[in-house]
Amino acid sequence: MNVPTMAEMMAQGKQPEILFWVGCAGSFDDRAKKITKAFVKILKKAGVDFAVLGTEESCSGDPAKRAGNEFLFQMQAMTNIEVLNSYEVKKIVTACPHCFNTLKNEYPSLGGNYEVVHHTELIKSLLDNGRLSIEGGKYKGQKITFHDPCYLGRANDIYEIPRDLIKKLEVELVEMKRCKSNGLCCGAGGAQMFKEPEKGNKDINVERTEEANATDSSIIATGCPFCNTMMTDGVKATNKEDSVKVLDIAELIANAENL
């Protein structure tokens, strides 16, 4: 697919409306790449003038910071800020709540001031402005539950926007026992994604997936590539692969619209 980079745009003397920050998972993880592509399809459908950094993008530093390595985090942050500022970036969208949180909350005091939105926020505003429309389509009537990513929900108080999007698909949105501000983590945050869990009697993602399974939904929707990995593993661990799918909201919308 044709995805313009900031460098190409600049060479043509153009400044895109928004920068799509893809993130490491969205760039390299096979599962997350599908989310990236689904989101790009939505951006194109809505005619959003966007670009990516491509090979000039580097880790936001979130996992390093949460692992306690403030040096590495700030090195990453300042390098990224130099790149972003050199392109005079004003607005950033990302499909990763970890990048979203870090860029939005932790970059400003290091000199990186941008309007940062999560992809669900951008999609919602595209719908509200009439630049995009969704019809129920493919998922009409299905039971869907939404798993709140911690870095979108509790960390940044965004609970309703992803739910509004799911409801637009004319599906039955079923809440898990622990949802919204009480939502249970998938187990990946705080750099846990990159290590084995500490000694315990259960894996967090299994605990969470069991809760999702209890809603009897055929789809677990989420808005984070790491939650997606954890919940997908959880679905396998609970032998529900045949009946339950884990999908990002961007994928739900792109699929429903046959993009």
Binding site: N2, V3, T5, V22, C24, S27, F28, K33, T36, K37, V40, T55, S58, C59, G61, P63, A64, K65, R66, A67, G68, N69, E70, F71, L72, Q74, M75, Q76, M78, T79, N101, K104, N105, E106, L110, C150, R154, A155, N156, R178, S181, L184, C185, G187, G189, G190, A191, Q192, F194, K195, E196, P197, E198, K199, G200, N201, K202, D203, I204, E207
Partner: protein
Amino acid sequence: MTYIDNIAFAILLFLGIGFFVKNIQKLIRNIKLGKEVNRLDNSSARWKNMAMIALGQSKMVKRPIAGILHIIVYIGFIIINIEVIEIIIDGLFGTHRVLSFLGSFYNFLIGSFEVLALLVLVSVTVFWIRRMILKIPRFWNKEMKGFPKNDALYILYFEMVLMSLFLIMNATDVPFQQKNFGNPISQFLVPLFQNFEVNTLFYIERTAWWLHIAGILIFLNYLYYSKHLHILLAFPNTYFANLNAKGQLSNLESVTNEVKMMMDPNIDPFAAAPEGSENDVPEKFGASDVQDLNWVQLLNAYTCTECGRCTSSCPANITGKELSPRAIMMKTRDRLEEVGENISKNGSFVDDGKQLLNDYIKPEEIWACTSCNACVEECPVNIDPLSIIMDMRRYLVMEQSAAPQELNSMMTNIENNGAPWQYNQMDRLNWKDE
């Protein structure tokens, strides 16, 4: 000789309040051992937090049963304490029910205190049942053994005894009962005492009165040693709580300076250190002991009432890991107390070969956290256990290079190729053509 009661009361009051003030001074001294952090900005948002969360108990009712019962005890506690004003005046000046000149309004007040006293008794009994009969799991985690468990029970027993004494005192006050107004509860206790001599009743009433005020003073002084300090500290704790988005971690300024130097091409790498800075001790990164934490984190530790809502919602704890956010707060307070005693004994802190990390909090607990903020969200008084966990990770990684092996690989990958996995940065855009 007739003044002996008044003098005894004055001494009791003086000692009771005196010891309390001394302990509060110690508390403030200990909290000030923490590092500076500015929490004086945005005072309107802070007052609002305090009004809503501490005064208005808005986060308590997220769990409705415990929340509503707690509000009853809380209102009872505050309102019934108006009665203490009268007790103090009576005690000091030898009067009896000095405020009764207020007439029927007085009886109305006492009547409402009695109703509240009964409601408090009922609520506290339900609390006891929840702890001891229903054994709600969050009261039985492993950090709740020994003193923490007993502490909770002592508080409940104290409240039961104080409320009972208040009602007995009213029931045996013959002139008060004769008026038969303002005694909606105590009148039902009167039959228990109907075969007693008037004289005996007088002594029972006096005994209940003395025990009631002595009990209140003892309770006041028990606070410093107990989780019950929250009744005072919930207010400053909600006022000084973090106002930023929960996901936002602080950026260490000392690191910013070094990173800026590293990235500045104009800096002279061979420049001598500025004059007079040869003996400066470089700032320690992160926290290994209570003095490395900031004062709000230490205030948090004293404020924690060990309700365990944090731990019961912690994904790590739910799945059997060592981490319990409540235990993080309890251990921080225990260590702070130990450091405080050390200072009281020696004049200033003398190294005792111990620290918060390892001797109290194990790295295994620190590494089990997913930074999901459930504990912070749950805390009814805005305590932030996550900030302590993160500060200790910073110490482990930046001072000790003691991260788990897999995390070291992740960080090496970020350093080398700008992603937590081993992929070439030049392949970052390959997805578009796949």
